[in-house]
Amino acid sequence: MKLPLILASVLSVAVLAGCGKKAADSSSAVRIGLNVELTGELPAVGASSKNAVELHVAQINAAGGITIGGKKVPLELVIGDNGAKADQAAATAQRLLSQENVLVMVGPNASSCAIPASEIAESLKAPMISPWSTNPKTTVNAQTGKSKTYVLRGCFTDLFQAGVLAKFTLTDLKAKRAAVLFDVASEAPNGQANLYKETFEKLGGVISSFETYTTGDRDFSAQLTKIKASNPDVIFLPVYYSDVPLITQQARQLGITAQFVGSDAWSSPEIVKLGGAALESAYFCNHYSTEIATPAAKKFMADYEAKYGHAPDDVAALSYDSVGFMVKAIEAAGVADREAVRVALASIPSYEGVTGAMHFTPGSGDPVKSAVILQIKGGKFVWVANATP
């Protein structure tokens, strides 16, 4: 008798407390959901994204909040961990959008998480922006080929990136033969590898070897031995920063001397810490470079470094911009309503973010924005070239 009684009273207190809190929040603050990879395979991505979003929300709130219908309202951030797993990302999206009742959702970042989460956002008619997911399927319904209505991304797409990299390997690196090695079980790498192959061959290059592995693999010696035998000028590695160091080190151990080229999935500073000398002089495509920063970007970098003690990576910059863009849309809508925000998203002519200017064309969730090519030199990312759409 005693235990159920205690349990019941504890529960009712909890429920009451919960009710009180929710009522107080919904009357005053605009709730923004953040769906990020805090645990799992990509913790550096999740941490960067969370840091940047928290920084931006704190800055907006320090300035009095956002303006809705002439009134200043504070922002409230609700953070959910998706564990870098597809199912958990969808569950977190469901929780944020229907239970926590956030107005809009920022994230997830990895394409394998952003694609399932986008289905939830689309079905609940809630605006979502993925800061870092480059796979076309995030904003486009794979079955119908039509653009999703409520889903945007804050970065360029894999199609654009693959084109930039294919052109760069052929004309700037003067490489005729390219080998590709990628994680077949992960959305973004898979898309990038196939689009790169297509574009590279269309432009007259030869794909000497097209090899895959599966998430979690640590031994790439069999694939690399095969690649070595195919005699490539460059090896394209569209894989996450956590796998790159192992692949490049094993390649050098096997006596492979070809140039490494990578995608934006490389851009965590962790890559240099883990990869060391094997990564020296490798090239990769990225969303922005600290060397060609605008004053607004410089301020962001300084603020970020002051708060967290290290420089922001591209996920941080894109997350910062994604929140900024969403806030601008909410302000333009003038009302905390999902449908009004969706309409406002497409109407913003140009948003000047820290990763450069971007805007959306009607009926598309992909922004029009440029890319940069970086090179790893002495453990640092050095700017090489700009690529515009």
Binding site: T39, E41, P43, A44, V184, F210, E211, T212, Y213, T214, G216, D217, R218, D219, S221, A222, Q223, T225, K226, A229, S242, P245, L246, Q249, Q250, Q253, L254, G255, E270, K273, L274, G276
Partner: protein, 291 residues
């Protein structure tokens, strides 16, 4: 020709690591007829312990390897005492769940202490050299050599020493051997210590060959080694070694012969076929003496 020789070296290196871990599964199964699913995570702890050790004390590689083997031996014994011994007479399914839970506890403890993958410093000077057109390095030879040495030593111990005889007796009939004066609890503790030692050695060697360590590194390789143990005939020590090398060879061979996209599909289908024809594994058999 050189290409195939190169791939053969790759297969032997990979197989050595699988075999070392598979031995731990097989030993424990032989004695207790249970799957120690926390074994892959003991392997991971071995890699982390090595990283921690060398970042605090700059000890030579061999010292680090031996120290880690002691640490993981103790961890193996601890897991058995805390998680498995209280359930020894419980239903099999409970023991399996406890083992899985134990693995998750170890993995998530590590994850909370070190969420980021970390670089492993090179402790062993790996010198690449060419031999008959094949690129090899001294680390590869060391891994293959140490693994083979440990496995031969274990085989000797099981066949010739008192503990080995007690182990085989316990695996035959756990209820009768205590009546003959065999200290079953001690035999089981030693078994877990030996399993932990091998997993720790594998963790150190592996983290030298693939120098990034992370909390989830034991999960996939643990499963693969478990598969290797089953293929060889779980409970049979020589079978575990054979299974490890076969798994390594099959994985590499499918990449050589087919597009690598098909690797796991073909590799594991082939292993299923082996099990269809030899349901108890290659060297295992229900009547044959276990361990």
């Amino acid at each position: 020709m050189e290409y195939f020789a190169q791939q053969a070296i790759n297969a032997i290196q990979l197989g050595s690591i699988y075999a070392l871990i598979a031995l731990g599964y097989s030993l424990v199964y032989g004695v207790l007829s249970m799957m120690n699913f926390a074994h892959g995570d003991v392997f991971m702890v071995g890699a982390f312990a090595c990283l921690l050790l060398v970042s605090i004390f700059p000890v030579p590689f061999i010292v680090a390897l031996l120290a880690v083997m002691v640490i993981t031996a103790l961890l193996g014994v601890l897991i058995e005492r805390v998680a498995y011994r209280p359930l020894r007479n419980a239903p099999k399914v409970s023991a399996i769940i406890t083992a899985l839970g134990c693995g998750l506890v170890i993995q998530n403890t590590t994850l909370s202490l070190s969420p980021y993958p970390r670089p492993m410093p090179r402790l062993f000077e790996s010198v690449p050299f060419e031999f008959a057109g094949v690129t090899m390095n001294t680390l590869q030879l060391f891994i293959i050599g140490v693994s083979a040495g440990l496995m031969v030593a274990l085989d000797f111990v099981i066949r010739k020493t008192d503990w080995g005889i007690a182990l085989r007796a316990t695996s035959c009939d756990r209820t009768t051997v205590p009546l003959m004066g065999v200290p079953v609890n001690r035999v089981i503790s030693i078994t877990f210590a030996v399993g932990g030692t091998l997993a720790g050695a594998a963790g150190v060697l592996y983290s030298q060959a693939y120098p990034v360590v992370g909390a989830s590194m034991g999960a996939l390789i643990g499963w693969k080694a478990f598969v290797a143990a089953v293929i060889g005939g779980i409970g049979n020590v020589r079978g575990a070694v054979l299974g490890g090398y076969i798994l390594g060879a099959v994985e590499v061979a499918t990449v050589v012969a087919l597009p690598s996209t098909w690797r796991d599909l073909i590799a594991y289908s082939l292993l299923l076929v082996i099990l269809i024809f030899k349901p108890h594994g290659l060297l295992g058999s229900p009547v044959q003496q276990k361990v």
